[in-house]
Amino acid sequence: MSALVVDTVSLSFGGLKAVDGLSFSVEKGEIFTIIGPNGAGKSTVFNLICRIYTPSHGDIRLDGRSLLDAKPHQVVQRGIARTFQNIELFEHASLLDNLLIGRFRHGRFAPLSELLFLPSQRRQELAHRRRAEEVVEFLDLEAHRHARVADLPYGVRKKVELARALVSEPKVLLLDEPSSGLTAEETDDTAFAIQDIRDNLGITVVMIEHDMKLVGKVSDRVLAINEGRFLATGTVGEVQADPSVQAAYLGAAA
């Protein structure tokens, strides 16, 4: 069964149709990439999935259940975590605290136990911390563990966001341009990380990416869109070969 289904979804801003009857589905355990020119509506699709916007038409389903009845803060409970194109971190908190907030969904509101820091709380905190540490190690963030996020360079912040999404242990991970601002070498590392996320953790990955080298390396399937509408889908090779994709997106020397 498909993990995530986007079913003829539409959304317009004023007169602009940002997403226009778009459908696609992502299989479980797949790495699925969305490409398309700037302003094609890719980030908007993510925002629709995360319930920041409500589609004017269509449905979005996760494991067969519609997401449209979830409030924005309930989306992560259903198992979807994401990163943002422009980085939305908790700037004044340390990297670790950012990750621990990422663990938010694995806990309950227990005011008394929290305020009194009962032993059960201590155990929970330790468990969260251990989880966070694993991700820190996984993404090589050890050096910055206690740094204030606002002081980190762009590329590292990008990784922190990925880490924060990862600690919430989602079923589906949405990555908005994970490699932007990284050098070739770092992009390679990211590619391996994404593969590991899928292979070892069984997380389904949906990503938006402009770096075709990375796309080619990791994606199982690619969807190209333009002006909110479907353009092409298939393997990287197939999509790259599609003339409309070449014209709209890749340009001459692709």
Binding site: S43, N47, I52, F84, Q85, N86, E88
Partner: protein, 293 residues
């Protein structure tokens, strides 16, 4: 209790209108600074108070002709506003707006004390710009209130045009939205900011001079600034038409609230504001926008 007569209602409406215009004059100063720099000047009420006292100094204590006194007051207050920014506020460039907010709070305390030490803590009378009242049937309106209404209208239109059509107006909007980028564009951020503070002090002084005949000159007259704040918030902080609309709304509803609840006079403005915010948490003309992610 008797019912209000039509004349009473008219009278209260007019009073509310002119009071609302006075709030607007203060609020415009506030909003101007916010719109152009995103700083919040909690001492705007004290700027107004200083303006009234400086006018009192020139007109009453030194006995200068009224309009000469007014001219000098506006000049002095302009310099004062410029100086406050250049010497004090500018040092916090780049600090969170909240810090500036708190700074101006402290500034207000200091200004009240300074004014008291110079002019005393009493209540002083300053003549009205145009003495006397306009009487239309049973309704009375002070000429200075009419002046306040005209001035408010003039200033709002002027500022609208300024932000809309002038290069510097646009630059001020830009610098409030992204200081670094504004610097990169070669916009003289610091100088423009000081100019804005000067402008807002001048508007504050206008309000002070107009308010003085109504409420007397005293160190505590700046507290009216809170209501101007409420008005500006109702309108959507940062929008000049919004501020005027909000202040008029508050000014006009206030007297009726007071009549309905004569023992709760003074809190109507805040209740109106609260009610508006409940329905529109960003005020009537929202200035807060959803972030695109």
């Amino acid at each position: 209790m008797e019912l209000l007569t039509i004349a009473d209602v008219l009278q209260l409406l007019l009073v509310g209108l002119s009071q609302g215009c006075l709030y607007s004059l203060i609020a415009i100063g506030l909003v101007l600074v916010y719109k152009a720099t995103e700083q919040v000047n909690f001492a705007q009420g004290e700027f107004m108070m200083m303006g009234a006292f400086v006018g009192y100094q020139f007109i009453v204590l030194m006995g200068l002709p009224y309009w000469l006194g007014v001219g000098l007051t506006l000049i002095v207050m302009g310099a004062f506003g410029y100086g406050i920014d250049a010497l004090v506020v500018r040092r916090l460039t780049g600090q969170p707006v909240f810090t500036v907010f708190i700074l101006t709070l402290a500034l207000g305390i200091a200004l009240r004390a300074v004014a008291g030490m110079i002019w005393g803590f009493g209540n002083y009378t300053l003549p009205a710009p145009i003495p006397g009242n306009l009487k239309i049937g049973p309704v009375v309106m002070a000429w200075s209130s009419i002046l306040a209404i005209l001035l408010t209208a003039l200033i709002s239109v002027g500022l609208y045009a300024f932000f809309r059509f002038s290069r510097h107006g646009a630059a001020m909007l830009a610098l409030s939205q992204n200081q670094l980028a504004a610097f990169y564009m070669g916009i003289p951020v610091k100088r423009l900011t000081s100019v804005i503070w000067a402008m807002s002090a001048v508007f504050g002084a206008c309000a002070g001079l107009l308010l003085a005949p109504i409420t007397l000159v005293s160190t505590s007259m700046g507290f009216i600034g809170f209501k101007a704040f409420a008005g500006a918030i109702v309108g959507g902080f940062g929008s000049i038409p919004g501020a005027v609309a909000g202040c008029l709304l508050i000014g006009v509803t206030e007297p009726f609230f007071d009549i309905a609840f004569p023992t709760m006079k003074g809190i109507g403005a805040y209740l109106v504001m609260f009610a508006v915010l409940l329905i529109r948490p960003q005020g009537l003309l929202a200035q807060i926008h959803a972030k695109k992610v």
